[in-house]
Symmetry: C2
Subunit: 346 residues, 2 copies
């Protein structure tokens, strides 16, 4: 354990890092003027010495530079159940903690509340910048917040996020890979259980799914929109499996719905993967402990969150930053996918 | 979707709730003077009308009344993997969202940093109160923060939390129940994989475990402290199973370690539950999707977090509040526990 952080001063940090006190201040205030390498060295030294900028070193009348805002329009329960957002937040926090910054987290009911909240936070000088997530098509946050001058990173495809610097994954390519993989296993009726139909990334995935099904000459199969939770994932799966043309494979938009879908298959006497193949999305630890294990479109969500935070600090520091694509989810085949019933392996 | 929250005024909320504007203000500022029932009615109406207190309605020079602080001395990665804190935070957020409040979340490296941070947040008028977690024995936060006048809820047993109002679960009784259950199944060598040895609740569980083992005349069996993550849970399980006196049952301090332990058992050719019984703690969805499913000491962690937030609002409002115990985790027997090898059911 390091000594008391109150004994170490900014002078000590500057001396150890071989820079001026001003450079330490610039680094911690996320202002331009120090290179990324120097900034990282300063953070490393501060961490080693246990030093953090104190209230007295910051003018309380000016804007907070050590707080980032994140509003989520999601039910509280889902936040604790769906691994995506907590893993994403853990990635954000990993970068914030290095820089002695905090996350101001709020659950909102709708985008009107979110817009009002960001205006309040920004005008109240509460936050240095904001992370916007879950973009809709024609998202009202774009016109409402772009004139504020608030540093923003938008988590979503650049076609959705207006002028804000975007960080995104290529959902369309990932969906295409999932469908092609199942088609190669001989599946002809592939359904999809998606997220809320008004989310931009749901729309992108739905389009890519329909396009790939058509391109491959597969049977047209239903896509069902849900609220991402286990119950809706189970209900959607039950509906699909009770339909006249039962699919032989289902692609899910997250992992808890795929886990629930596997449960429904068992309850209906279907064996996964012999009778039904399942592909999950996001690939948390859940996918590795089910029986059978779940094939998934896998990406490093913690790293995704960390990248979002890093890009936001660049934006706050006034560094010119364009969009930034993180790695595309890629298929990890596990025990829940197999050749379609009656089809040999391709 | 409700209309724009900027069109609805505090007057509308007061009229609809049948109270004065002042009462609405008191409710949202978490001040005494309105009953809990009235407060809840005001929140319900505000929610219905889509109204939230705006920046202009709050004096920016005064203390923020709509932000609660939470510092966690945990690795960022663990926050995304261990279901406990996600579910706990989702519970806190469920209550905060109802009251249009936000959570200021920070990961800290040690308690010195945490103490300095809370002093800064409180003196900087950033937060209305704080949630302190992961108490140690002789926790330095008690002497350092008790003189601040900051409203605090301490999540931990009252023997650890000094003068702060505490919200806690009875860990000792829960450990005793777990050991008694396994002993009733004929197990004589029961080991425990615990959390970090310096955490107060680890100490309480370790003592209760040792006491129960002695009271029941069982063989003295090892308890191993870990950092709560999967790797350490796996390593501890491997060490226990390679020892001369292999235990026939293991109690874990969370669920991801129990899941990892089940994996280690399989890797060593042991069948759960025939050769080895496992009991998890906290009982997230993980325990229900493993094969076999995991018996667990189960409690509603989301509700625990919500209770903590509610008690904190009472403290902020100046309402006298003593300690508050939430329900004790209770055993949910599932597929990972069975009579000890060679023992009949008791």
């Amino acid at each position: 354990m390091s000594g008391s952080p109150e004994r170490v001063t900014i002078k000590d940090v500057a001396a150890r890092a071989g820079v001026s006190k001003g450079a330490v201040s610039l680094a911690f205030n996320h202002k331009p003027g120090v290179s990324e390498a120097t900034r990282e060295r300063i953070f490393a030294v501060a961490r080693e010495l246990g030093w953090t900028p104190s209230a007295t070193a910051r003018s309380l009348s000016s804007r907070r530079v050590d707080i980032i805002g994140l509003a989520l329009c999601r039910p509280a329960r889902l936040l604790g159940l769906e691994p995506f957002y907590m893993d994403f937040i853990s990635g954000i926090e990993s970068v914030l903690a290095e820089r002695s910054c905090s996350l101001l987290l709020r659950l909102v009911r709708d985008l009107d509340e979110e817009i009002a909240l960001y205006k309040e936070w920004w005008r109240g000088r509460m936050i240095a910048g904001a992370i916007l997530v879950d973009f809709r098509e024609d998202d009202p946050r774009v016109p409402s917040l772009q004139g504020l001058g608030m540093p923003v990173v938008a988590v979503g495809h650049p076609s959705l996020t207006g002028p804000f610097p975007a960080v995104w994954t290529d959902d369309a390519s990932a969906v295409t890979e999932a469908v092609r993989y199942l088609a190669a296993l001989g599946h002809r009726r592939i359904a999809r259980v998606g997220g809320p139909a008004d989310l931009g990334h749901s729309v992108i995935r739905a389009r890519a799914f329909a396009d790939t099904v058509r391109d491959l000459g597969l049977e047209e199969a239903p896509q069902v929109g849900t609220g991402f939770d286990e119950k809706e994932g189970a209900r959607a799966t039950r509906t699909l499996l009770l339909g006249a043309d039962r699919p032989t494979a289902i692609v899910y938009d997250n992992d808890i719905m795929a886990v629930a879908g596997a449960g429904v298959a068992a309850e209906m006497g279907l064996t996964v993967p012999d009778d039904l193949s399942l592909v999950a999305w996001d690939d948390s630890q859940l996918c590795r402990i089910t029986h059978p294990t779940l094939s998934a479109m896998s990406h490093d969500v913690h790293h995704f969150g960390a990248e979002v935070a890093r890009v936001l600090f660049d934006v706050v520091a006034g560094m010119h930053t364009g969009g930034h694509q993180v790695p595309t989810p890629s298929l990890i085949p596990r025990g829940s996918t197999a050749p379609a019933p009656g089809a040999g392996p391709s």
